[in-house]
C-alpha cells in the first residue's frame, strides 16, 4: 500500500474575501508535487493548513499519517517548511541558527550542513541581517535540509531569486530527491521551476483545485492544433477541444485530452491539421486556469 505524505480531503476554509473550497490533494511518499497557481489562488493558505498554522473549517488533513493540526508537534519533527517570506533572526549569526536547530533535531546531519554551507557559499559567522534575499533563502534551506526531513514543504522558495541562486536551490532540491523516501510539496507560480523538478502537478485557482495529475499526463494531454478550415466547411465541435480561436481560415484548437484520433476526426471532417504543438507547462497552466474560470462562470 502506498503511504501518503500529504492527504487533504474536502478541506474548506473561509475568509471574508476568499475561500478554499473542497480541497482534495494527495502526495505519495517519495514524490515531488508542483503546487501551481496564480497569486492569491490559495497555495499559501493550503500550505498553512498543512503546517497547522490555520485550522480547516471542515475536511480532513493528514501529514505523514498524522491528523493536523492536532498532531502538529509530532508531524513537524519530520517536516521541513520554508516560505519566501519566512525570516531568521537578524541579530544572530547563521551559526547560531544552526546550533539552535541542531539542538532540536536529533537527526541533524553536520557533514551535510557543512557541504551545503560550501555549495551555497554561506559564511556561518555572518549575521542574518547582512544576508541578501537569495542567501537568506539558502540559509533557510540549509536549516531544513540538514535535519533530513521526510517531507519538505516549500512555499515559493525560488520567488525573488536571481537566476544563479535559483539554479543552485533547484539543483540542491534535485539532489535531495535521490532519497526515494523524501517527499516535496513545491508551491510556485513559476512553471519553469516546477516543470524542472516535479513529477506530479496540481493546479489551484480561486480557492479550488482545478487539475492534479502526473507531469507527463499534463504535457501529453495538452496540445495545440493549427487547423486550416476550408470555405464552407464548419469547424466541428469535439469534446476534447476546450478552446477554439479563429483568424480567417486558420483555427487554433487547444485540447486537454489529446489523442492521435482527434487529428483523424478533423481530417474526416475535411479540415487540414497543419501542426500539432506541444505546450509548455506555463501554457498548460494558463489555458487550464482560463478554461476552469470559463467553466465556472
Amino acid at each position: 500500500m502506498t503511504t501518503l505524505a500529504i492527504q487533504l480531503d474536502n478541506v474548506c476554509k473561509q475568509f471574508p474575501f476568499f475561500a478554499l473550497q473542497d480541497i482534495c490533494l494527495r502526495l505519495e511518499e517519495g514524490q515531488i508535487m508542483g503546487f501551481v497557481g496564480p497569486n492569491g489562488a490559495g497555495k499559501s493558505t493550503t500550505i498553512r493548513i498543512l503546517m497547522g498554522l490555520l485550522r480547516q473549517a471542515s475536511g480532513e488533513v493528514k501529514v505523514l499519517g498524522l491528523p493536523m493540526p492536532q498532531q502538529q508537534t509530532l508531524a513537524k519533527q519530520q517536516i521541513g517548511y520554508v516560505t519566501d517570506d519566512m525570516a531568521l533572526f537578524g541579530n544572530a549569526s547563521l551559526a547560531w541558527h544552526i546550533e539552535l536547530v541542531r539542538s532540536i533535531y536529533p537527526d541533524w546531519d553536520d557533514a551535510y550542513a557543512k557541504t551545503l554551507l560550501d555549495r551555497f557559499y554561506l559564511n556561518p559567522q555572518q549575521m542574518i541581517k547582512g544576508l541578501s534575499h537569495g542567501e537568506r533563502i539558502k540559509a533557510l534551506l540549509l536549516l531544513v535540509l540538514a535535519r533530513r526531513p521526510r517531507l519538505l514543504i516549500l512555499d515559493e522558495p525560488t520567488s525573488g531569486l536571481d537566476p544563479v541562486a535559483r539554479h543552485e536551490v533547484l539543483a540542491e532540491l534535485m539532489d535531495v530527491l535521490r532519497d526515494d523516501d523524501r517527499s516535496i510539496l513545491f508551491s510556485s507560480h513559476n512553471t519553469v521551476d516546477v516543470e524542472q523538478i516535479s513529477d506530479c502537478i496540481t493546479f489551484i485557482d480561486r480557492g479550488r483545485i482545478i487539475q492534479s495529475s502526473d507531469k507527463e499526463s499534463f504535457l501529453e494531454g495538452w496540445r495545440r492544433l493549427k487547423l486550416d478550415v476550408p470555405d464552407g466547411a464548419g469547424l466541428p465541435h469535439f469534446e476534447e477541444a476546450i478552446e477554439v480561436s479563429t483568424a480567417g481560415k486558420i483555427a487554433t484548437v487547444t485540447t486537454n485530452a489529446y489523442t492521435p484520433g482527434l487529428q483523424t476526426r478533423y481530417a474526416q471532417a475535411g479540415i487540414t491539421v497543419h501542426e500539432v504543438q506541444r505546450m509548455t507547462l506555463e501554457e498548460v497552466f494558463v489555458a487550464n486556469v482560463m478554461y476552469s474560470r470559463k467553466e465556472r462562470s
Binding site: 485550522r55 493540526p69 519566512m86 531568521l88 532540536i104
Partner: protein, 223 residues
Amino acid sequence: MPKSIMTRLILKDIYMNRMLIIGTLLAVFLSLFIATFSEAWFSIGSVLFITSMIVMGIFVSMYGVVRERENKSWLFVLSLPISTTQYFAAKLVAALISFLLAWGVALVVTVLFIVLIDEMPNGLLPFFILLMLFFFHNFAIFLAVSLLTKSEVWTGATIILTNTSITFFMIFAFNLPVIEENLSGPIAVWSPEIFLLMFYELAVVVFVLGFAMFKQSRRHDFV
C-alpha cells in the same frame, strides 16, 4: 521533546534580550549612583530609573513578540516541532523572565540602596515597591496586548496609556496619607491600603497574562 524545545525557545529569547537586560541594569546602577550627588541629581537619577524600567517593559514585548511577528521570523519558529499554544507560552515565559531579571535586580539593589545609604529615608520603601509593582503591572498589560493583537493601533495606544498612567499612579500614591506622611521618615510604614494596592497590581498581572494565554489557546488561525 516539546518541553525541551520550549526551554530552548525561552533561552533563545532571553539570549536575544541580553543586551536590553544589561543596558537596563547599567542605567539603573547609573541612576542610583548619580542620585547620591545632590537633591537635583536625585531627581535626574529617578527620571533615568523610571525611564529605564518603562523602556525595558516596552522593548521586551516589542522585540520578543511584535517584531518577531512582523518580520515573520515567527514562521521559522512555528516550523519547529512546537504547537502554537506552546509557542505563545514560551514567548510569555521568556518575556517574563527577561523583564523580571532586570526588574528583580533593580528592585533588590534599590531596596538595599535605600536601606543602606543613610541619606535615603526608609519611608520611601512602600512608595518604591508600589511603583515597581506598577511597572510590572504595565509590562504585563503591554505583553498581553502584544500577544493578543496584531494591530499597531492597539499596541501604540497601550504604550501611550500605560506610560501616561505612571504619572497618575505616582500622584495617586504620593497622596495616600500613609505615604505622604512617612515618605521622608526614617521608618517604612506599611498599611492595609498599601497591601491592597499591591494585591491589585499583582492581580492585574495574573489576570491579563492568564487571559492572554487562555485566548491564545483557543485561537485556531495564527497567520
